[in-house]
């Protein structure tokens, strides 16, 4: 049966009530780009979530709290200082094309989590958390890692809505970089890397490296992180970390790029991401 209604509630509770009713067969619509082309259009009610307060940005407890309905363009313009801002701005401004950056939302990109999705990779590196809301239930906070281990569309309970993303702020001493390898400026990612580094007394005090697009879902490179943690960054150990990362991830090939090429590309991009993050961390201390 084709969709019967398209509604745009002004209150989140109304959205959640619609999603919770199994008889209604309602589906949330954010940017709409995945839904327009997807099979989930079998829903009977489309519930537009762009007007119920989920396109907000605030700071709370040394974290940025980003509404799930923020578009990539909104994030490009958002006042997000420090390494966190560098990472999210870089990512948001590189996604797809301008009309799609105006449509694609943070929440939609996370929940649909196609293999080339960009935000999940960065949010994994940032150790982000997400708020999950359901009608007449207490909100839950989930770590990004949980959404990555089991695809969000399977992990999220019926009627649940990802409403906000909580991202730690990182200021002086921190540097980050998001990189994508693709065959043209507007192509899907063929390999993506997010790196976040803290320098203290010239040594790497904190590091996270996450990769995507080459793996079925985004993955942290914990073995690679161990290579650098506690050490001063050098050309040698950054290259070693990149090599270790490539060894620990399960790389999948497809018709666009064979596995050996993906490994080579990924290794280069990881090394460059680490180098850039280190440079930015040093610059932030100046």
């Amino acid at each position: 049966m084709p969709a019967q209604e398209f509604v745009r509630p002004k209150e989140l509770e109304e959205v959640l009530a619609l999603l919770a009713d199994p008889e209604q067969k309602a589906i949330p619509v954010a940017g709409g780009s995945a839904l327009v082309r997807g099979s989930r259009r079998k829903a009977e009610i489309f519930v537009d979530i762009k007007d119920c307060g989920l396109n907000s940005l605030r700071q709370q407890d040394e974290q940025f709290v980003l509404g799930a309905a923020l578009s990539c363009s909104d994030i490009v313009r958002a006042p997000l200082p420090g390494a966190t801002g560098d990472l999210l701005h870089e990512l948001a401004d590189s996604v797809a094309t301008q009309p799609l950056r105006n449509a694609i939302t943070l929440g939609g990109n996370i929940v649909n989590m196609v293999s080339w999705a960009d935000f999940p990779v960065a949010l994994l590196a940032l150790d982000a958390n997400v708020s999950i809301a359901r009608h007449a239930q207490q909100n839950e906070i989930w770590p990004m890692q949980r959404l990555v281990e089991e695809h969000p569309l399977k992990a999220l309970p019926a009627g649940a809505l990802l409403t906000h993303v909580w991202v730690p702020q990182h200021d002086a001493g921190w540097g980050a970089n998001y990189r994508r390898f693709r065959q043209s400026e507007v192509d899907y990612s063929l390999a993506s890397v997010a790196t976040l580094i803290e320098l203290k007394n010239n040594k790497i005090n904190n590091i996270s490296i996450a990769v995507g697009a080459v793996t079925p879902r985004p993955q942290r490179c914990t073995q690679a992180e161990k290579v650098l943690l506690g050490h001063a960054a050098s050309a040698n150990n950054m290259a070693q970390a990149a090599a270790a990362a490539v060894d620990e991830v399960r790389i999948v090939a497809n018709m666009r790029m064979e596995e050996s090429m993906r490994r080579r590309v990924l290794q280069v991009e990881i090394r460059r991401a680490i180098e850039t993050a280190v440079q930015r961390a040093k610059a932030s201390q100046a």
Binding site: S33, V36, F46
Partner: protein
């Protein structure tokens, strides 16, 4: 369902199914300048402005624009009084088959309405969602630069 939308400054009521796509409804309503190219969010020939932002009409449900303002190429200027971007594209010889041109102009308008002090990279980035098979883009970007200069009052 009925959706109230402002199109080129006029409030109109569009009658459409709940899951209707904006591109199809606009063309049915007579806005043929919104082109049916790929219908899958790649080519940009269906680009319109929604509240001033470049948007693929083929990737948008009609319901998403209810209560919002849409600008199509028809709303930009006339033969006798073209918009500065339309003039500038002609001046730059930026039109060959013309199929991409409405989308290109609207994406450029979105950029120049925000800022007129634009670099070549800014133009390329703002128009990265509009493909052209004819011109190789150089003259299109020239046209946008010409329009930007005019809008800055420099020529």
């Amino acid at each position: 369902m009925k959706f109230d939308v402002t199109i080129n400054g006029q409030v109109q009521q569009l009658e459409a199914e709940a899951d209707a796509i904006l591109l199809d409804i606009l063309r049915d309503a007579g806005y043929k300048g919104v082109k049916y190219g790929c219908h899958e969010g790649v080519c940009g020939s269906c680009t319109v402005l929604v509240d001033g932002k470049a948007t693929y009409a083929c990737m948008t449900f009609v319901g998403q624009v209810a209560g919002h303002e849409i600008t199509t190429i028809e709303g930009l200027g006339t033969i006798d009084a073209p918009h500065v971007l339309q003039e500038s594209m002609v001046e730059a010889a930026a039109v060959q088959c013309g199929f991409c041109t409405p989308g290109m102009i609207l994406s450029a308008k979105a950029l120049l309405d925000e800022k007129t002090d634009v670099s070549r990279d800014d133009i390329a980035h703002a128009l990265d969602g509009n493909l052209c098979r004819c011109t190789g883009y150089t003259k299109i970007f020239d046209g946008v630069e010409i329009a930007a200069r005019k809008m800055r009052g420099e020529s």
